[in-house]
């Protein structure tokens, strides 16, 4: 890097991870398929939010707000298309998750499991709050709660899953 160059981007001490070709889209599709499959056969699986976890993982890893929000948009729209919700409902929520996740990942090191557990729980609650707010404002549906017991349970469940899922996805990183 020359002294005259101006670097604007992630913090220099933060590593930006890259993945093999196809890993991101395959992972997204698998997450969506499992999300559509599990709740049908296992009622307890309704607490799991695999598309959210996948979006969060790649946003934290790639550490690019632009990439993160675009990934969140795509994942959310796909999830909307597979459910009864209007297109854009999950898309808005996951777009924000991807943007803020990438912004956060660009500033701090999120490799530690404790951080991943906390971030996953917080972003689950954030994702649900955005979803409820969008439903109220745009759909005029006021029956979507912002916070209750099942939502807290879901945040803990997904945070726990993130501890195991994120290291599994780390295996698909390109070795630099």
């Amino acid at each position: 890097m020359q002294s005259t160059d101006i670097y604007i981007g992630p913090e220099p001490h933060i590593e930006v991870h890259k993945y093999y070709s196809g890993v991101v889209p395959v992972t997204v599709l698998v997450a969506l398929l499992l999300q559509a499959f599990f709740p049908v056969h296992f009622r307890w699986a309704s607490y799991i939010e695999l598309p959210l976890l996948v979006t969060l993982y790649f946003a934290l890893s790639k550490r690019s707000p632009s990439s993160g929000l675009l990934l969140g948009m795509v994942v959310g729209l796909l999830q909307d298309s597979l459910s009864r919700t209007p297109l854009g409902l999950y898309g808005i929520a996951k777009t924000l998750v991807g943007f803020f996740g990438s912004s956060l990942g660009a500033r701090i090191d999120v490799e530690h499991p404790v951080f991943r557990f906390v971030l996953a729980g917080i972003f689950y609650l954030f994702h649900h709050a955005v979803f409820a707010l969008t439903s109220q404002v745009l759909l005029a549906q006021r029956n979507e709660p912002y916070m209750n017991g099942p939502i807290l349970v879901g945040s803990v469940v997904n945070a726990t899953i993130a501890i195991g899922l994120f290291p599994l996805l780390d295996r698909f990183r390109k070795r630099s």
Partner: protein, 311 residues
């Protein structure tokens, strides 16, 4: 060399993506009455500007119309004020003519009601420049057959007598003048005494004894003793009567029956024949004295002391 990226590019991209997804939702969602949310948003977005534009245009129209209207209203107001002023003047003229017509009608009725006493109507055309003398000028003179010492009356009562005669004008001495005197009597007690003027609005009835009963409000009539006025013409009304400490007579003040301060038309008596002021007695009473019209006996300007009726 690392790529150069703008700090605001991710935020701009986020805003675009969010807006696109919100529009996508708006196109799909239908609110009440099956109206798509995007239409609701579009209408809600445009309607404030429409209302503002409409308010501005209407306000300008109303303002301009109001300004024009005010200008027109001001012109109309000025025109109406001018008309009002003209009408006020005209109304005053008509009121004056109406009152004059009433007075003339009263004079005519008085004359026609008393055919036995020839009278000549005259208009008061001026007064004396001297405030101390109570005289007026009428528009009748010797050419009309008037002579000196003819009595002058109105339907209300005695006014005075002719002091001087000119070809077309005559001078009338009012009964309120200091030099004037009228032979009079009290209507109830028939006590006689001269009524003299003092230059003041009220007259003075003299030589009435303190033993005589005089009540306020009692009528004072002509006695005919002065040989100018016929008998029983109204002279005035007693205002008050108090004993005079310096004499055996009373001080009696009399308010004139005729409005001496508002004379406009008068009647000149061309005879001393009694004029019956009451319609009921017109047929019964015989004419008392009937000199020919135009002939009046010589009578001094002032009335001499009346014969005492005190004792």
């Amino acid at each position: 060399m690392p790529p150069i990226s703008s700090r605001h590019r991710p935020l701009a991209l986020l805003a675009v993506v969010m807006a696109a997804q919100i529009l996508l939702l708006a196109v799909q969602i239908k609110r009440e009455r099956q109206v798509r949310l995007i239409r609701v948003w579009a209408v809600e977005l445009i309607s404030p500007f429409q209302r503002a534009a409409s308010w501005t245009v209407l306000g300008a129209e109303h303002g301009w119309g109001g300004y024009i209207g005010l200008r027109q209203a001001q012109r109309e107001n000025e025109a109406m004020r001018a008309d009002l002023d003209r009408l006020k003047v005209r109304n005053a003229e008509l009121e004056g003519k109406a009152k004059e017509a009433d007075r003339l009608a009263a004079l005519l009725n008085f004359r026609t009601g008393h055919p036995e006493a020839p009278m000549l109507a005259a208009a008061v055309i001026g007064g004396s420049p001297d405030a101390g003398s109570q005289v007026v000028y009428i528009n009748r003179g010797s050419r009309d057959g008037l002579r000196r010492d003819m009595g002058v009356i109105t339907p209300d009562g005695v006014v005075g007598k002719i002091l001087a005669v000119y070809p077309d004008t005559s001078q009338v001495l009012l009964i309120s003048d200091r030099e004037s005197g009228v032979g009079a009597l009290l209507a109830d007690t028939r006590t006689q005494g001269p009524v003299k003027g003092s230059g003041e609005p009220l007259l003075s009835l003299e030589y009435i004894s303190v033993d005589d009963k005089v009540a306020a409000g009692e009528a004072v009539l002509t006695s005919g003793q002065d040989r100018i006025f016929p008998k029983d013409l109204p002279v005035g009304t007693v205002v008050d009567a108090v004993p005079d400490r310096k004499s055996p007579f009373m001080k009696i003040r009399v308010r004139p029956a005729a409005h001496l301060d508002r004379l406009e038309e008068v009647l000149v008596l061309q005879t001393r024949q009694d004029v019956n002021m009451k319609r009921e007695a017109e047929n019964a009473a015989a004419p008392a004295i009937s000199p020919t019209a135009g002939e009046t006996p010589a009578v001094p300007a002032t009335v001499a002391k009346a014969p005492s009726n005190a004792r």
